[in-house]
């Protein structure tokens, strides 16, 4: 077993070696510009891009012409909201979204608010799920688009996108979902789920960084988005810029592998996740699982270790790459906004650790991490005055703490 262990697969994933192999020729011999229509270099590049487009489309049940390549999911999210508002803004300026979206949606929606749009922030259950009935209640005659993520990047909860899609369809409102965390892990079918716009990122599914896609529905209804990047009119005018052929090829290969291996891989990562959870919960009292267990990404485990601060725990796990919702690990000194939105108190938000198990993690690694966590929590609790007070039966909420 090699140290350090990477168990932060929601942040990014390594490229699968098969992806790298597929990409390499497009950096050397096949370096053509996919927009060069008059020579074989361009034709080869275009052919490779179109194959990748098919591979990505297949992963989500779309047709190739509905895939627009972008620089990543942040750009896809930006285009989905801003591009739709720019195109359909004359019909209304109301957006419905949730407070646990990725920052690429939250910040874009806030920016649109400052530009005169109105945003309804959906309530989130303590289980981290969006109730489709709340979407129904939030839709107004001037609502243009609803954006609710498929899988959450922190707590791993997976929303009922099909139910939300059906509601949007009924009201004639466009539906966008950020499927960055679910693509390749949970089956996605844009037709069955009634999705109009969907964001993808290659590097969260064992492809390269710097490439993503926005699915834009072409039929029933034909969805239009105004471009954010203007220029040569690439990607059917929705996203100009010379296509990074090697990255697109890598993205396509990653999508092909994900389509073929999703079922077996998700079963394997789920078994590893459950092994990790069982070991930790059996040995460590006073833990809290953040987010629904039943509706959850297979590789995600987000646990609060009460009376232990997250960053100090990360320090003990220095041979393991995981993340914490603790304020101390962020530049802002604010604990995770997602954990706060599901009603977790600040103290337990500070105590949370996110484990992200992926394709290349092994059982041996899971066992090593579990043992390390168990030992570290026990040690830090012997250091914790809060743990001592809790053991003595003192209710920490009864104490008047001096906030600083």
């Amino acid at each position: 077993m090699k140290l350090p262990i990477y168990m932060d697969n929601h942040a990014t994933t390594p490229c699968d070696p098969r992806v790298v192999e597929a990409m390499l020729p497009y950096l050397t011999e096949q370096f053509g510009n996919a927009a060069s229509r008059n020579h074989p270099f361009g034709w080869a590049a275009e052919e490779a891009v179109e194959l990748a487009r098919e591979q990505v489309a297949k992963l989500i049940g779309a047709t190739p012409k509905e895939i627009v390549f972008t620089s990543g999911a942040t750009e896809s999210d930006n285009v989905a909201l801003k591009g739709v508002i720019e195109f359909y803004g004359h019909k209304g300026k109301h957006i419905v979204t949730s407070p646990i979206e990725h920052k690429a949606i939250v910040d874009t929606a806030r920016w649109l608010e400052r530009q005169g749009c109105e945003v309804t922030w959906l309530p989130v259950g303590t289980d981290g799920l969006i109730d489709p009935a709340e979407v129904s209640k939030a839709i107004r005659p001037d609502t243009v688009v609803v954006s609710v993520m498929h899988g959450n990047n922190e707590i791993g909860t997976v929303n009922d996108i099909g139910a939300i899609g059906a509601i949007c369809k009924k009201h004639g409102v466009l539906f966008h979902t950020d499927a960055v965390q679910t693509a390749g892990k949970v089956p996605i079918d844009v037709e069955a789920m009634g999705v109009d716009l969907l964001s993808l990122s290659a590097h969260k599914m064992y492809g390269p960084k710097g490439i993503g896609a926005l699915y834009v529905r072409r039929k029933k209804p034909r969805v239009r988005v105004a471009p954010m990047v203007h220029g040569g009119g690439h990607e059917r005018g929705m996203r100009s810029g010379t296509l990074p052929v090697h990255q697109i090829v890598g993205f396509g290969k990653a999508a092909e592998l994900a389509t073929a291996e999703m079922e077996s891989e998700s079963a394997r990562t789920l078994a590893l996740r459950e092994r990790l959870r069982a070991k930790i919960e059996a040995a460590v009292p006073e833990t809290l699982l953040n987010g629904s267990l039943a509706h959850r990404l297979p590789g995600n485990l987000n646990i609060s270790f009460s009376f232990v601060e997250g960053e100090s725990l990360l320090m003990a796990l220095r041979d393991v790459a995981v993340s914490s919702g603790s304020a101390c690990t962020s530049a802002s000194l604010e604990p995770s906004y997602v954990l706060r939105a599901i009603g977790l108190d600040d103290e337990n938000a500070h105590s949370s650790i996110r484990f992200g198990i992926g394709r290349f993690n092994t059982e041996e690694e899971v066992d090593y991490v579990a043992d390390l966590v168990i030992k570290a929590v026990a040690k830090l609790r012997t250091l914790s005055p809060l743990w001592e007070m809790h053991q003595e039966g003192i209710d920490l909420k009864s104490i008047e703490w001096a906030a600083h």
Binding site: E311, M315, C328, P335, E347, S384, L386, H404
Partner: protein
């Protein structure tokens, strides 16, 4: 963020962890910080009749820098008189541990803990 060797040393081998008898008239207890803010320090000192801190114990809930700051002050206050201990400043702690700017509040909290423990001791002794 990379930690300094001194922070890592105190985190891995914390000095003087534990508790002193709260009901002892010579023991002062300082509890500062708040769980919601991500750090709570408890510093206890036992003072001899001639005003010298003969023992100190701590427990801390917080990041590595908070644990290191409180571990360090238990070493620093031991053997000092109460008045000498009050001259320990957060800057000294931050400098010694090479804390980055974002962790300065940990050293401030450690200084607060010293003051709170001494105040508690003085109150018990009717010196406040």
């Amino acid at each position: 963020m990379a930690y300094s060797d001194k922070v890592i040393d105190h985190y891995e081998n914390p000095r003087n962890v534990g508790s002193l008898d709260k009901s002892d008239a010579n023991v002062g207890t300082g509890l500062v910080g708040a769980p919601a803010c991500g750090d709570v320090m408890r510093l206890q000192i036992r003072v001899t009749d001639d005003g010298v801190i003969e023992d100190a114990r701590f427990k801390t809930y917080g990041c590595g820098s908070a644990i290191a700051s409180s571990s360090l002050v238990t070493e620093w206050v031991k053997g000092r008189t109460v008045d000498e201990a009050l001259t320990i400043k957060n800057n000294d702690i931050a400098q010694h541990l090479a804390l980055p700017p974002v962790k300065i509040h940990c050293s401030v909290l450690a200084e607060d803990a010293i003051r709170a423990a001494i105040e508690d001791y003085k109150r018990k002794k009717g010196l406040g």
